[in-house]
Symmetry: C2
Subunit: 463 residues, 2 copies
């Protein structure tokens, strides 16, 4: 399919909200608010025969009465009314429709038939559909979103390199807010729910051409056309990393998925092996999906499996070392000259090894001495500083100094956990594009992804 068809969803000049409501809190009200009251600058039309004005906009009695072409229609009306509405939107020029309403394939029976009818109607009139049963789309470039989650309840992230598509709107909300909270920019976002028309492969092909997108994250329960998806990933993988979380590993989970979007999750083993073959990065949970996308977006790949840690509190490094072993990463012995250098430069109570333990007395200067030596050590591929920001001897200068280590070209992934002060410190690092993770398991999983991505890229160059 052409990119132009998908482009219409993200860059409409005019948007009609079908089923706009004048009652705050109602889905049709909140969507209209999201589309019309913030940064998006396109023309917005509300359709509701029972109202004359909503949120300061004239409310139209019908789709036909809108005195303009519609580029994008957003529908929040009962399922049975959707087919006719699609037809009318098409007559106003719409090539793209987001159906937020639920009550289709996920209910089975008669409702599934309505969904089929919508697809036939849409195909007959050249309209592409995202949804139904979804929260729709977000484009950080023009700040258009179709969400019924209000701004007061859900932050929108800044513009940046990660595109995210999800069968679950809920996980979509989670990722959007985690991204906003940790300064991870999003390019495009798509919640596609029942996926009656536009599918993951269509979106991947579009995002492959999208200059704003560098990394693609996917949460999927049941594939519609698994082969088509895998082929789309194969096409894009050398250029952009695709990270995939596949839910529904168990029969029970698959059954829940069926009641979610009407799609059975299918055999997990088959999916997992297919994902590996098409060189997607398969992850195990929503945190890992986010964490890995963050690492890939902000840091270079790791040219090898050798991790070096430095810390002012070594406990979490024990857990991290365990996890490295489980994931096949190395904690190498440092070069002899690095050891000598560190023994010279660090206070005598520090433990010069890998990890380098600066102890609770560790200062910003100690960290910079240690990390510079590790960055210059040829036996090290990735720097993993652990911080106990709570430890008062550690001054905040480290937050300004650490980014200078990026010049060595080795990825830097940090670990720090705690409360408000720690979050503030982490936030400052993340604004310098250095990711911080709250547990040893999470930072090691992110490191593994930077290693795997490099190994894939090396293989694909050789082939």
């Amino acid at each position: 399919m052409s990119d132009k068809a998908i482009h219409a969803f993200f860059y409409p000049d005019s948007v009609a909200v079908i089923g706009a409501s004048s009652t705050p809190g109602k889905i049709g009200h909140e969507i209209l608010k999201s589309v019309s009251q913030y940064e998006y600058r396109g023309r917005v039309y509300a359709v509701n025969p029972k109202a004359s004005e909503i949120l300061g906009l004239k409310s139209y009695e019908s789709i036909e009465s809108i005195p303009d072409r519609i580029d994008l229609a957003v529908l929040a009306i009962p399922a049975t009314a959707v087919p006719e509405a699609i037809e009318k939107c098409a007559s106003k020029g719409a090539k793209a429709a987001v159906i937020v309403s639920g009550g289709f394939k996920e209910l089975g029976g008669q409702s599934e038939e309505i969904e089929k009818k919508i697809v036939l109607t849409a195909r007959a009139h050249g309209v592409r559909i995202i949804g139904p049963n979804c929260i729709g789309i977000f484009n950080s470039a023009n700040r258009l979103d179709t969400f019924f989650q209000s701004r007061e309840r859900m932050r929108r992230p800044e513009r940046g390199p990660v595109a995210f598509m999800t069968q679950s709107g809920t996980f979509g909300c989670t990722i959007l807010e985690w991204a906003a909270d940790s300064n991870l920019g999003i390019s495009k976002f798509i919640s596609y729910g029942n996926r009656c028309d536009v599918d993951e492969a269509d979106l991947i092909d579009y995002l492959a051409q999208d200059d704003d997108t560098k990394v693609i994250g996917v949460y999927v329960e049941g594939f519609g056309d698994g082969r088509k998806f895998m082929e789309a990933v194969k096409r894009v993988a050398a250029k952009k990393a695709v990270v995939v979380l596949k839910a529904g590993r168990s029969e029970k989970g698959s059954k829940v998925a069926l009641s979610h979007t009407g799609w059975l999750a299918g055999s997990y083993e088959v999916c997992e092996s297919a994902l590996k073959q098409c060189d997607a990065l398969a992850v195990n949970d929503i945190e890992e999906l986010f964490d890995v996308a963050k690492a890939l977006a902000k840091q270079p790949v790791a040219t090898g499996r050798r991790i070096a840690m430095a810390t002012n509190g070594i406990g979490p490094c024990v857990m991290a070392a365990d996890r490295c072993v489980e994931l096949g990463l190395d904690l190498p012995r440092l070069e002899e000259r690095t050891l000598l250098r560190l023994k010279k430069e660090l206070p005598s109570y520090c433990i010069v090894s890998n990890p380098v333990d600066l102890t609770g007395s560790g200062t910003s200067r100690d960290y910079m001495n240690a990390l510079t030596a590790l960055a210059e050590d040829k036996s090290v591929d990735l720097l993993m500083p652990f911080f106990v920001f709570q430890d008062t001897p550690l001054g905040e200068e480290i937050l300004d100094l650490l980014p200078s280590l990026k010049k060595y070209g080795k990825p830097i992934l940090c670990c720090a956990s705690g409360g408000e002060f720690t979050r503030k410190c982490s936030d400052r690092l993340e604004r310098s594009e250095i990711p911080v993770y709250p547990t040893p398991e999470r930072v090691v999983a992110a490191a593994k992804a930077l290693v795997s991505r490099n190994e894939f890229l090396k293989r694909s160059i050789q082939n």
Copy 2:
């Protein structure tokens, strides 16, 4: 050993900080600040021959010159000076000493010898030691803490039912702040580092008698006397749950542990099976240690393995169902009359099954209808509501209504994730003693612990 000896650490009338520093940021300064400048009401003495006054307190030239008995000594002085200081503290009546300083067994060689000397000195003079190489203790009852982490950088939690002991001060900081952030009260906290004297078993025996403590969390790398620990757990387990995170699963992790506190982690398989035999709840990472302690502290045990979910966004329930299967928990079919009742009480677009899917249109009233029916369903042992608080149709009334379900006596564990608004909602629920977890995996792991705890209690009654 007698409880009285451990009691001295937590309830001293006078505390001396040996190595108090007048330089803000230095460990000896921050400890003195923590002990003397906040809520703790005991008499506090600073010892530093180079200062005359620190933080408004007279600074004593020597331990001997303190004109009072010392109940607790906190030492932040170079390792080599510690043995003599212990002897002098003993001469002033001290029965308890926290040694914060590092530079002992973890360095090996000469430094390890100093640690041995300290133990001999302490034993000879009837002084008990916590540490060295630790951040010491916190007692929420009198707000005494020995931390060099300033209040600005590290929040202290409220008083409550969870005691926590940790070989890693870093993980200690993490748990204390997570507890403060999620309204989980802490009774006593102990960071014991190299554990040269007072060990986990001593602490467990003490906490067994502590009325403030209901749940005991333990992070340990290498056991000193594994058998003694297991026996202490066995003694307390029927009365108080003991949750244990054992680090150093791998040889590499064990080696890092050795450089941390001078203790090898030992064989993980042996430990894990021993932990199970002594009926500790073994967990896999620091989040799970915290999560499980929170569930046990705030909720009753689950009298069976049957989980019921209700949600306004079902995606995460797919992942949760997968995890339930992996952990041996059931998502049973609901009773026929529950299904009929829900079909009657809920809007027609809801999916009446387990999980109950209220869809993105779900309201507080829908939730209460669904959860009340689930609470009254005899095929359900534990209620697991998932919330998308971002979804605007869901009013905040649910936060006030949900606690009324506690009357059914079934545990309630929630899942919700997002940003600031979600955290505020979660915080309100947690203030009503209803735990909220940010991912499906975490809430299911917490549920599993409530099931396991019940199964252990049933076994121990039968025996």
